[in-house]
């Protein structure tokens, strides 16, 4: 097999796995958008906040230590424990549930029946508030996150492909874990929404608020529920991204990468978020490989690299023109 084709295959695989990471973030957006029509700008920050909390709990960091030290002249830093990963994860889930409850209580409850743009603005405010809160609680330094997920080259794939093609593929173990986790997460969410009472209620609310009320569904309960689930999804995304590139505040910007994913997959489709993520991940890696660095077709097009920064957005733009509801979005049918 020619080398270029092998490289392209490796790039495709890596792209698909990078796509899974995008999909994890996009999933959180879809959940909230489906249930309440709110585009939650804070989803990326929620991932950051969840990851910060997880690291903080694990390392036994004292929350608000800078603030406390500044006010009381103390010198607090750590509680001095090291929590097992699973306990810290459960703790973080509880924090995210509490966060969902507070969001409903302080924001959503007061904005019922408002225009989507107003709710969107509220989530922008929420994003900045949460970023500041994360900073104040846990500090702004870059932290490494280790919950025991395997990292580094997968030896088995490297060896097998080397034996088969004479060229070993580099696939990161973490990406494989992310793929498995994403698959489990999506399966869980689909089972939940299809077969449980709360899942049914959630779909009902997503479809029509008034009708949902008339069959005895509490909108507020559903909102807390859906924000809590989105918080959980944010935690999963936070763990994956945090493990990959450290827990840092630029993590909140991955939300921007989720936007083109949503435009491709549709804002209301869970499978759409996954497929959209895969297409974007694979597309941008392959495009960079072929045309960014000119390694296909004898290098007829060579854009000089860095296409990954804009490729996803251009693709999304093309989709907006030709298929505004995305691949899996609900068709816009108007009965006249």
């Amino acid at each position: 097999m020619p080398d270029t084709l092998l490289f392209a295959m490796e790039v495709t695989l890596n792209g698909l796995m990078a796509g899974v990471m995008y999909a994890l973030v996009a999933l959180g957006f879809v959940l909230i958008f489906k249930a309440s029509g709110i585009f939650n700008y804070a989803q990326g920050v929620m991932a950051l906040f969840a990851a910060l909390t997880l690291v903080g709990l694990q390392d036994g960091q004292v929350p608000f230590s800078h603030l406390i030290n500044a006010v009381f002249g103390t010198d607090l830093h750590h509680f001095g424990w090291h929590m097992p990963a699973i306990v810290a994860i459960i703790g973080t889930v509880l924090v995210m549930v509490l966060f969902a409850w507070i969001v409903e209580k302080l924001i959503l409850k007061h904005l019922v029946n408002q225009e989507p743009i107003i709710l969107f603005m509220a989530t922008i405010g929420l994003a900045y508030f949460l970023e500041g809160l994360g900073d104040m609680m846990w500090g702004s330094d870059i932290k490494s996150l280790d919950v025991g997920l395997p990292q580094g080259i997968n030896g088995w794939i490297d060896e097998t492909t080397f034996n088969a093609f004479g060229y070993g593929f580099f696939i990161d173990n973490l990406d494989i874990v992310a793929t498995v986790v994403a698959a489990l997460l999506v399966t869980g969410l689909v089972l939940f929404s299809q077969y449980t009472k709360q899942g049914r209620a959630l779909r009902a609310v997503a479809d029509d608020h008034q009708a949902a009320l008339s069959v005895g569904i509490s909108l507020r309960f559903i909102w807390v529920l859906v924000w809590a689930i989105a918080g959980f999804v944010a935690l999963v995304a936070g763990i994956m991204w945090g493990t990959k590139s450290g827990v840092q505040f630029s993590l909140s910007l991955i939300a921007l990468k989720a936007l083109p994913v949503l435009m491709l997959g549709g804002f209301t489709s869970i499978p759409g978020a996954i497929v959209g993520g895969l297409i974007i991940g694979m597309g941008e890696k392959l495009f960079e490989f072929c045309f960014g660095t000119g390694q296909c077709f004898g290098g007829i097009i060579n854009l000089g690299g860095a296409t990954e920064n804009w490729f996803a957005y251009v693709l999304a733009l093309i989709f907006l023109v030709f298929r505004p509801q995305g691949l899996f979005g609900e068709k816009i049918i108007e009965r006249v």
Binding site: T196, V215, R335
Partner: protein
Amino acid sequence: MLDGQDSTITEDGRTIGGVMMEMKNITLRFGGVVAIKDISFDIREGEIRAIIGPNGAGKSSMLNVISGFYNPQEGEVWFHGAKRPPMKPYEVARQGIARTFQNIALFEGMSVLDNIMTGRLGFMKSGMLSQAIWWGKAEREETENREAVEKIIDFLEIQNIRKTPVGRLPYGLKKRVELGRALAAEPKLLLLDEPMAGMNVEEKEDMSRFILDVNDEYGTTIALIEHDMGVVMDLSDRVVVMDYGKKIGDGTPDEVRNNQDVIDAYLGVAHD
């Protein structure tokens, strides 16, 4: 006129019991606009009670007060002999009051079956966790609910569209599905907001038949709003007449028909 708690037997042999719901001096305002002004009436166990009146009389507002979508500024709502505190619509629904809407509120993206199934949410007792752990119990519950829904589908004669997404159905069938969803909740009181609006004669006859059958077979108490006077007079046991937010008549169809205020309101006599 019927009054007191004694039960009465109607001409066609149905039993009408004591007072189930009582509205006492209800006043509802939107800013400066008075939608309902000091109205009192009651709904008795097992009867079909109609609320009629010209456009803008406040009929839908009254239905929205009963179902908790609006909370009146003044007055009391009594249900099963107890005064009802201000409630959210979902709480009212859980008390056994189901409703349909004038402009149809269905889950357009779901199938007919799933739509009617949402009416059974109150009967699904298992929580999220127990559903994950006790799969068998959840499955049994699902089967029971499914059977109840299938019965309603048979009753409303919509077997052939059970898997169709509701968004694709014509208007008349949507109205029927909405009735089905309300019935699935096995309500004590069923509120119908213009169940026959926009229907042709044949569809109206079907709907009238369903309403009578629901009342007769399940003993469900029904309060409905309707414009078509012929239909109202045929269907209902007692009628409340509203005009400009006020009650101008209350009684059997015959009594109401001969009420001078009602005749004036409908024929548009000038007020002094």
